[in-house]
Amino acid sequence: MAHLTYEESKKSAMRIIIILGIITICEVLFALLGKGYLKEGIEFPPAILGGVMIIMSVVKAYLIIFEFMHMKYEAPGLAKSVLLPTLLLVWGVIAFTWEGSDWFKRRDKIKTSNEQPVKDVKVGSIYDPATTRNIG
């Protein structure tokens, strides 16, 4: 359990908080610079901008969990039982952003199909997907 002396752990906490602060400042500067707010004309592609900021946030999360919350010094089983279930969220993020971008694509489809005239459907007639306007 105890891997650091009191003095060492005090120093380590100071070091970690300074690193966290520096990463935060970098994130903010990067966000402002990348969107062209600090200097006219400099802009990064959104994928690189987002990717770098996500990586920096994950590094911050790692430092908070492993250093501040002492996950580093816990039994490996505890660390696994806490961290492995959260990996399921990776799929959640992929699946729902994927789905979200599909909703975005469908927006135009819905709009154009809404502009088309609605075909007459006789009461009692059998629903035929081939002739009836498909909203999807």
Binding site: M1, A2, H3, L4, T5, Y6, S9, K10, A13, M14, I17, L20, G21, T24, I25, E27, V28, A31, L32, K35, Y37, L49, G50, M53, I54, S57, K60, A61, I64, I65, F68, M69, H70, Y73, E74, A75, G77, L78, S81, V82, P85, T86, L89, G92, V93, F96, T97, E99, G100, S101, W103, F104, R107
Partner: protein
């Protein structure tokens, strides 16, 4: 981390086949600490549900309010200062996380005065964060009229020029480029969007009117930062109780290295951890 090995921990090293009698601690962690970890896992999933739905809705919208425009005011009439105030908020929360680490360390030293001192600083940090959030919300609701149903922050999709009420061009600051943001103001309780004439692209020459931004933005912002703020608020309450208990000497009698402070510390760091992602998704991206 404890330099003072606790009685409970030294017991666990010697489990001579006695695992079923209830004496052994799983993962060498006490019941309270282990359960705090598992509570945090479940809480992480709750926040993830919120943030993932934010991601899905944001991806489905043609435009999204630009954070550098939405969050560009500070107290004392600061304008056009993108992300400055929220960066200060982030630093307050980070600093309170650091003071919490120090409180836990003093707890391991069985130093009551140190624990109480650093805990009070952590509580002050939490209260400062809540105060900042209250100011931010007040600004958005009271002055900019953002609600959970309406989002006055829009973004132009094409370049153009603003028109005055009589159809003439507005002289000052009248042109804008695609991607620039605007805030629809309210006059006498009614939305007053400006008219503009498109100058480029397929719709050039057509007069259009500003529209409100994506509806989901307000609901997502208030529910997610509100849920986080509620965690900060409950954290402050729990820390107050724990600090009073520590000051009265309750935890020093337990001789377990102020484990209660450590458990509350886990919760507080988790609140900071969630803020890292709220900050990333709402303010940075």
């Amino acid at each position: 981390m404890a330099t003072v090995e606790t009685a409970a921990h030294s017991d666990t090293h010697d489990m001579s086949g006695d695992s079923w009698s209830g004496g052994a601690q799983p993962f060498k962690a006490s019941y309270g600490k282990l359960m705090m970890w598992y509570f945090l896992v479940s809480d992480a999933f709750t926040f993830a549900g919120f943030l993932i739905s934010y991601g899905a809705l944001r991806f489905s919208m043609p435009t999204w309010p630009v954070p550098d425009f939405v969050f560009s005011t500070t107290p004392f009439n600061g304008h056009g200062l993108p992300l400055v105030f929220v960066t200060v908020m982030t630093f307050i929360l980070l600093a309170s996380s650091f003071t919490m680490v120090r409180a836990v360390q003093e707890g391991h030293q069985e130093n009551k005065r140190g624990v109480v001192k650093w805990m009070i600083l952590t509580i002050i940090g939490g209260l400062m964060f809540l105060g900042c959030q209250a100011w931010e919300w007040n600004k958005l609701i009271g002055e900019e009229h953002m609600t959970i149903k309406q989002d006055p922050f829009g973004t132009h999709t094409e370049a153009g020029v603003y028109l005055a009420g009589d159809g003439h061009y507005v002289e000052e600051g009248d042109t804008f480029k695609a991607g620039e943001s605007y805030l629809v103001h309210k006059h006498d309780g009614e939305w007053a969007p400006l008219d503009y004439k498109v100058t480029e692209g397929a719709d050039a020459g057509i007069v259009k009117s500003q529209s409100l931004g994506p509806k989901a933005f307000g609901a997502l912002f208030f529910f997610i930062t509100g849920f986080h703020g509620f965690h900060v608020f409950s954290g402050v309450l729990i820390m107050l109780i724990v600090t009073i208990n520590a000051a009265t000497g309750l935890y020093s009698k337990r001789k377990n290295g102020y484990e209660m402070i450590e458990k509350v510390g886990l919760y507080w760091h988790f609140v900071d951890l969630v803020w890292v992602f709220v900050f990333l998704l709402f303010y940075l991206l």
